[in-house]
Symmetry: C2
Subunit: 421 residues, 2 copies
């Protein structure tokens, strides 16, 4: 089955916003085993919108349109699809009731132009939108199905997950399931080499790798008559991946991020964490706090950007800074010790590096980073030489720090468990 | 002049990466006054790539293609454009020399397949790529010009700015200049109302507003025979905007971000800054450190996520936390005072709020945020009720904090200047 994604909005053509909807929809389609050969962006212009719908209809089984369902005269997606499919529009009583309820619940008054949003092409399926004012619509023609979704990601994504996913599975007539095995501390090329035999032998399930900043994801996708069968097909491959990559796998759950995995590991081990950041300057801290409920394990962190801050907050010795410099193994070690003393946390992390673009030397070039992790007095320090822009170097450093924390905590746990036996 | 943007890469069709190149190129074209009606994404497939090039050629004066210039057999953009335009390919000696130099400078060995990258369609212009291995190419046909750029943004963007911009200006035969007036602490709808008369009366220059997180940008664009003329046309409008929005304007320089403006303000006033963050947990700190050279003014910051951290690091009173809670005006005030004491900075900022999704109450709902700014003892505290997801609330809070710092420092400067007189 072939799907085409059409994103509607002049703001995309002007580059005012980045098209995250296309990436989201494309990824979802790929996970459902639906192929996609083209993505198109078109403005709020009826003639050109009609043209791209016609082109997409000729080459696809499913056309997913997003955006252009708003209340203004520039919102034309529904009207244009209806015209292309020769459908009249009617005011849908159910959608109107939902809309009135939406406004009432927020203590807002509904304006006349919102009623445009409950005009539905005849015979279409309506997808409720509890997160906004534009219902989604599915118009089914014999050859092609048109799925119209609202533009705001906070409305589009739940609508896709709650309605469109099931609908697409129904169309394909088979269950397509995928499982993502997420690795940290591995390079994509190395991972690919390690599973080349599996990739070469693949048919069902299929196996693909994806590089993410500081991570590699391996996606296993199976087609089957039902979910149970699909799971049965994937199981031995996932098991094989687990045996090949072992502890490098931090999750097999699509929704779990690296920071979430680290927070859950700390929660499970009943360990608190404290941070001392220099070049990342709060990025790691902010990333941990992406995880709701992190307050169980994370209480405080410091950004010690200057040498003086390293001295006063973390007790880094003046002589160490003078002798070895702020970006050195020795400073990282004293930082992480000082961080343990300051925060009283069980696990502490210290980061110091040259983020650039200036400040690099031959001996200590831009991208040189030291990350130290201290688990109850056991300290491990890693040195990295990273590439890219200032922000890239800092971002990658946070992933590497999370990876190091994971390694050190797992090592600690195995030590403790062994000690108890 | 009409341009079409074609992004080539199966990774885009699979949703593995977000198409930031399309947004960048679209914005650049818009700023140059080049219209764009369609954007297309196509995979690494010759037949389909040929099809979209043909379609684009029929409806555009300029076709900008990005991606697919790499050394692998899947990189087909150059070959397909050459075939479409009936051009043979030759090994370009200049590009080969650049490539060899690129590898030599990095101490790397060039592999045979890299030579594919220096194959150039006959008669094409070559755009040097000091940041990567794929040169850019411009193929000029009578009706349509084809601009081929490498996919990595770190290669594409400098190539666009150093070569393509001038080329496009040459094609339009007129200078299109724009100036962006950036505001903080303003809402887009209010800004639009305040300049409705200017927008209604616009022809040359044109005026448009763009909402960014916590900011509004107003872009003034003029067409003229040359840059001097264009500047002359823009000048009175920019002057009028300055008089209407005054201190809300933090820059009229496209390259200056809000954090950069704040850092420059602090540098100019010779003031240091210290941070105490709770719900943002280092986001503001990390954002300040986006600015190279920030170490002049920013030395240290703390993330005090728990009540205990607020007490021990910032001396917030136990009774204050008990009586008013961690998210309160009183706690924000004690945090900012404690931050001044801890960091010794001239300007200190404290942030405390409910980022959600849990932890909200009727009295203190998700999105309630207090931001305090202390300039040498003068404290100002702002309360905000924000909407959106956990990350949205935290992101917006950092913009609001930067806005508050700016206001307080400017107020301080005017006070000091007045006092001196």
């Amino acid at each position: 089955m072939i799907a085409e994604i059409i994103c509607v909005g002049t703001e995309l053509l002007l580059g005012n916003i980045v098209n995250t909807n296309a990436a989201y929809l494309a990824e979802q389609c790929a996970m459902l085993g639906v192929s996609s050969y083209f993505q198109v962006v078109v403005g709020d212009n009826k003639e050109r919108l009609m043209y791209v719908i016609k082109t997409a209809a000729e080459r696809s089984d499913v056309v997913i349109l997003c955006g252009g369902l708003g209340p203004t005269e520039y919102d034309l997606t529904k009207e244009t699809v209806a015209e292309f499919c020769n459908r009249k529009m009617y005011e849908d009583a159910h959608s109107k009731a939902c809309l009135e309820q939406y406004f009432a619940a927020r203590g807002l008054e509904m304006t006349e132009n919102n009623l445009k949003q409950v005009m539905i092409p005849e015979g279409a399926k309506v997808l409720d939108n509890p997160n906004g004012t534009a219902p989604g619509v599915i118009v089914e023609e014999e050859q092609t199905k048109y799925i119209l979704l609202p533009g705001p990601p906070m409305e589009l994504q739940p609508m896709f997950e709650n309605h469109v996913m099931t609908y697409l599975k129904g169309l394909t007539g088979e269950e397509i399931c995928s499982q993502t095995v997420k690795l940290c501390g591995a390079s994509e090329s190395k991972v690919e080499t390690q599973i080349k035999d599996l990739i070469d032998a693949q048919s069902n399930p299929t196996i693909a790798t994806y590089a993410k900043p500081g991570e590699v994801h391996i996606r296993v996708t199976a087609k089957a008559a039902n979910q149970k069968e699909a799971n049965k097909i994937m199981k031995p491959v996932v098991k094989e991946l687990k045996s090949r990559f072992g502890h490098q796998i931090y999750t097999t759950d699509e929704k779990v991020t690296l920071e979430k995995a680290v927070v859950e590991l700390l929660q499970g081990a009943d360990l608190t964490i404290g941070l001392a950041e220099s070049c990342t300057a709060g990025m790691l801290s902010a990333r941990l706090v992406n995880v709701p409920g992190v307050s169980d394990v994370y209480k405080m962190g410091v950004t010690t950007y200057s040498n003086k801050a390293k001295r006063t907050l973390l007790n880094v010795k003046k002589s160490t800074l003078r002798k070895h410099g702020a970006v050195s193994q020795q400073t990282a070690e004293e930082m992480v010790k000082g961080c343990a003393q300051l925060t009283g946390a069980d696990v502490t992390v210290a980061i110091t590096g040259v983020a650039g673009p200036d400040g690099g030397t031959e001996e200590k070039p831009v991208g040189l980073v030291y990350i130290a992790c201290n688990v109850k007095g056991n300290i491990r320090i890693k040195k990295h030489q990273l590439k890219g822009s200032r922000s890239k170097i800092r971002e990658n450093t946070t992933s590497l720090a999370l990876t190091l924390v994971r390694e050190c905590v797992m090592e600690y746990l195995s030590r403790v468990t062994f000690g108890k036996k």
